[in-house]
């Protein structure tokens, strides 16, 4: 089970190996060691630093600072309040949306789903910057309009407040709840609802008595995801909380890297995040387990859509108004800022300018490097991550057993590690010997790979579950090796699931800021960090140009990947 021979055999495996040698044990071992190092090393260093002082002696003083120093305790309290409020509001706003899209005859349901995907692609920090342009208390576009209409001097909404932060984070977290919930609602079998209907329950009674209780575990699971997202977010608090004069724990951890850096305090401050995340994930797996009980065996007919009647178009209008918050308004603001002199000034022809476009693409020497770095990393991580998670999912699905479960646990573990915590851990691990990776793209690659591993793995596992092993067995019986079968039978059948996984990783990498901000250096800056830097000097126009370009490129690449998936989806070709 050593790594080297296994990798070597994998490299040459093309189905021509004698059928007698099963390579999977070696590959399994290699993947296991790789994952253990990938996930374990940063956490190990984090633990070492959290429990030692600057001289390397064991101590608990770092945790003492954490609970006694108000500079650290206040951000911790703020963070948990933020996460709790976001979880509640995200659930409240996503639930009706998911129900309308999944269970009613709302017009344009496909479009609504697509738009929600678009809000998922939008990096939260870009959303936060857009909302600065929209709702800064005095210069914000919306507040200006409000003053003109009302004639008053008061702002309608101040984004640089705790409630402003809760609002913006909710905007970009609610899509997670929506996805979890609408998936569950899609799968709730219609027969239970039908039964209730036959027994004389009104339509609303059915919703209250059947649909809601069945969807509740998914809603709670979605709210937990929202809680975790909000708790570990770095960009939005850095952009909105600092001007308002407060810290969250993530911005505090980042500030501990100011010179002279205090990695030991940062490590200690990171541990509560890690522990809370693990606890919540444990609760979530309990919840999801119970939901499985409720809807398993749901092979009965398609979910019945409820007719909204005269409420169809009002409901549609409501959905569009909700979608305006994460999408239409911010994108409008970005486009406006990209082409006008004063980002939030009144819109007229005189203020139109190409200065920002010119600056970003001609004068600004970081643009090309940052675009190249970002897309090299996104493509590289997506491809490597896809192969890796595909192998893991295959091993787990077809091998099972204790080894499989262990592998699965390792691949899911990074879910419990917030990006900024992982950033701190990787920084500690790879700025000292034997392997110094800081300053190269590799450290970002490993960070992104680790962060995206769980999501990609979930996607691959789902794809494998829908795949019957008979075809593979036939191939094995006819003499192909396991890896040969994987390449020629299993992989083509998995194509669309694999492409979806690839896209998920790609989007995740482009969005990532919290680990990147700690790990990138001059040569290895990515777009998210460039945007973050530009925001600190207030260059909103340049940010808008870079942000819009980045999103267009992301959509183009994802569209292209899906187009390939479509081309290759011909089942005859795939199996043949």
């Amino acid at each position: 089970m050593t790594a080297t021979p296994a990798l070597k055999s994998f490299a040459t495996a093309d189905g021509r190996h004698p059928a007698g040698i099963d390579l999977s044990a070696g590959v399994l071992g290699a993947i296991f060691l790789f994952l253990a190092a990938l996930v374990g090393l940063p956490l190990l260093w984090l633990a070492v630093f959290a429990f030692t002082n600057a001289k390397g002696m064991p101590t608990l003083a770092n945790f003492g600072d954490l609970v006694s120093d108000p500079d650290l305790l206040d951000p911790l309290i703020t963070t948990f309040s933020l996460a709790a409020l976001v979880a509640v509001f995200a659930a409240i706003s996503a639930a009706p949306l998911a129900w309308l899209v999944s269970r009613t005859n709302l017009p344009g349901r496909r479009i609504v789903r697509a738009l929600l995907t678009a809000s998922f692609v939008t990096p939260p920090f870009l959303g936060a910057i857009s909302w600065e342009i929209l709702a800064a208390p005095n210069s914000g576009i919306l507040n200006r309009l409000w003053r003109e209409m009302s004639g008053g001097t008061e702002a309608l909404f101040d984004i640089y407040t705790f409630s402003g932060l809760v609002f913006v984070v909710t905007c970009y977290t609610a899509p997670y709840v929506f996805v979890v919930l609408s998936n569950a609602l899609d799968r709730i079998p219609a027969d239970l609802e039908d039964a209730a209907g036959i027994l004389g329950a009104s339509r609303w009674r059915v919703v209250r008595a059947i649909t809601l209780p069945l969807a509740l575990p998914a809603l709670l699971a979605g709210a937990l995801v929202a809680f975790l997202q909000a708790m570990t977010l770095f960009g939005s608090p850095a952009i909105l909380a600092i001007p308002a004069g407060f810290h969250t724990i993530t911005t505090k951890i980042y500030s501990l890297f100011q010179f002279p850096p205090k990695p030991e305090v940062a490590a200690a401050a990171a541990l509560p995040l890690l522990i809370v995340t693990m606890l919540l994930l444990f609760m979530q797996s309990r919840l999801l387990g119970r939901r499985g009980y409720a809807v398993v065996g749901g092979k009965s007919g398609e979910a019945r859509l409820m007719a909204l009647g005269i409420w169809r178009w009002p409901a549609f209008a409501l959905v569009m108004m909700v979608l305006a918050l994460p999408l239409f308004l911010p994108y409008g603001a970005l486009l406006k800022a990209a082409f006008s002199r004063v980002p939030a000034g009144p819109l007229d022809l005189a203020s139109l300018t190409l200065t920002h476009v010119n600056f970003v693409f001609i004068e600004f020497s970081q643009t090309r490097r940052a675009f190249a770095n970002t897309f090299i990393l996104a493509l590289g991580t997506a491809s490597a991550g896809t192969i890796l998670t595909l192998l893991i999912a295959y091993m787990v699905a077809r091998q099972g057993g204790r080894a499989g479960r262990l592998l699965e646990a390792l691949a899911s573990a990074p879910l419990a590690i917030p990006g900024i915590v992982l950033g701190v851990g990787l920084f500690l691990a790879y700025t000292r010997g034997p392997l110094v990776l800081y300053g190269t793209l590799w450290i970002l690659f490993f960070a992104f790979l680790t962060i995206e591993l769980p999501v990609a793995y979930q996607q691959m596992r789902a794809s494998f579950r829908g795949l019957h092993p008979e075809l593979e067995e036939a191939s094995r019986v006819l003499g192909a090796t396991r890896l040969g079968t994987l390449r020629r039978i299993t992989a083509p059948l998995l194509k669309s699931g694999v492409i979806a996984g690839w896209c998920l990783i790609f989007i995740g990498v482009v969005r990532e800021l919290s680990a990147a901000v700690i790990l990138s250096s001059q040569n290895t800056k990515v777009l998210s960090v460039v945007i973050f830097d530009l925001n600190e000097s207030g260059d909103l126009g340049a940010i808008a140009v870079i942000g819009v370009t980045m999103l267009l490129l992301t959509f183009a690449i994802i569209g292209f990947a899906n187009w390939i998936a479509g081309v290759g989806a011909d089942p005859r070709r795939a199996v043949g």
């Binding site: 005095n138 407060f246 890297f257 850096p261 020497s365 800081y438 000097s537």
Partner: protein, 345 residues
């Protein structure tokens, strides 16, 4: 024992003096140009506003084709952390560095990270005290941290005239200020204001619901956008540039004195492109580069033969607070801690 100590001390002093007397200077020669061209690029870390930095880079690239200037702009304090991180990981990206916190150069020199590179022009023309006699750094630029207000929101007669005026309740919720944890200009200004006005000034200021931004380039933008009508601190040069572009903003030089911020440049000892770095260093002190920096960048130059553009108040007519990087270097931790206590970020 004592004898020995005295002897070695005397020797040290003699060596230092010898070094001072003989710090070699250098000029831009065809050989230097050629060697720089072979290296092909120079990595320039700076805390100057990014557009001004790119402007300087462009002018240099035009004068010396074949040598690319890679500009890495960050807030001086952020840049200081980044260089510290990189050097402790033995990553020597940076060739030449400019910072708005002169105290950084005291630290870097002490750590032995800088190379001695004293351009001939600097020794001959620049005021003594504006450069390190041993040639490790020299003041490439200076600027002021000023009060400014939005002229379409505040009438000149109502505008603040002093730092004390900013404590007036009428400015509650109307002030914006940059952060000493990010900006070297603001760290320097905070030190000088705390020294001259006392920390109690900041304590009172903090109760004015101040909007906190990061870079000293940002407050002028927030003022022009109308987000806050008055800025407590921020770059004079950004105010100049915006005003000359027609934006509604006006400078106030506070009656207590205006914080003076010196921005030195130094060549790194471990530079990967040492010749290109020395060429860029020497060029940045020429009349051509300094005049460009003043005209297009709104900065202040310490070069005596510079022509101040019309409409900007000459440095000699402004009451300045005294700069003191040595004290900043020793008090930086305390400054940040106190700031955090009052402003919470």
């Amino acid at each position: 024992m004592i004898n020995g100590l005295c002897r070695s001390l005397a020797l040290l002093i003699a060596m230092t003096m010898a070094a001072q007397a003989q710090t070699p200077t250098y000029k831009i020669t065809p050989e230097l140009e050629e060697a720089a061209r072979k290296e092909g690029k120079v990595v320039y870390y700076t805390s100057i506003e990014v557009k001004v930095a790119e402007e300087l880079a462009k002018a240099f690239e035009k004068k010396y084709p074949g040598i690319d200037v890679v500009v890495e702009r960050n807030g001086a304090e952020r840049q200081f952390s980044k260089i510290g991180q990189e050097y402790s990981s033995k990553i020597y990206n940076v060739d030449i560095v400019n910072s708005s916190d002169a105290a950084h150069f005291i630290f870097w020199k002490r750590e032995g990270w800088l190379a001695s590179a004293l351009p001939d022009d600097v020794q001959k023309l620049y005021p003594a005290g504006s450069f390190d006699p041993e040639g490790y750094f020299a003041a490439m630029r200076s600027s002021l941290s000023v009060i400014a207000y939005n002229t379409s929101l505040v009438e000149a007669k109502d505008a603040p005239k002093s730092f004390a005026d900013l404590l007036d309740p009428k400015w509650q919720g109307k002030l914006v200020k940059a952060h000493p944890g990010y900006s070297g200009t603001i760290l320097t200004a905070t030190f000088q204001m705390a020294r001259d006005l006392g920390w109690s000034y900041f304590e009172k200021l903090a109760s004015q619901q101040v909007m906190q931004v990061q870079s000293s380039t940002d407050p002028p933008r927030k003022v022009i956008a109308g987000e806050r009508p008055v800025m407590i601190d921020g770059n004079e040069y950004n105010v100049f540039l915006e005003k000359e572009r027609g934006a509604p903003i006006e400078v106030v030089y506070p009656s207590e004195g205006t914080p003076l911020v010196i921005g030195p440049t130094g060549v790194m000892k471990n530079a990967q492109h040492p010749n290109a770095a020395r060429l860029f260093h020497a060029w940045s002190f020429t009349l051509e580069a300094q005049q460009l920096m003043v005209d297009k960048g709104g900065l202040r130059s310490l070069r005596p033969d510079i022509k101040e553009p019309h409409g900007r108040k000459p440095l000699s007519e402004i009451k300045l607070m005294k700069d003191d990087p040595v004290s900043v270097d020793s008090q930086v931790g305390d400054i940040k801690k106190r700031y955090l206590r009052y402003f919470k970020t």
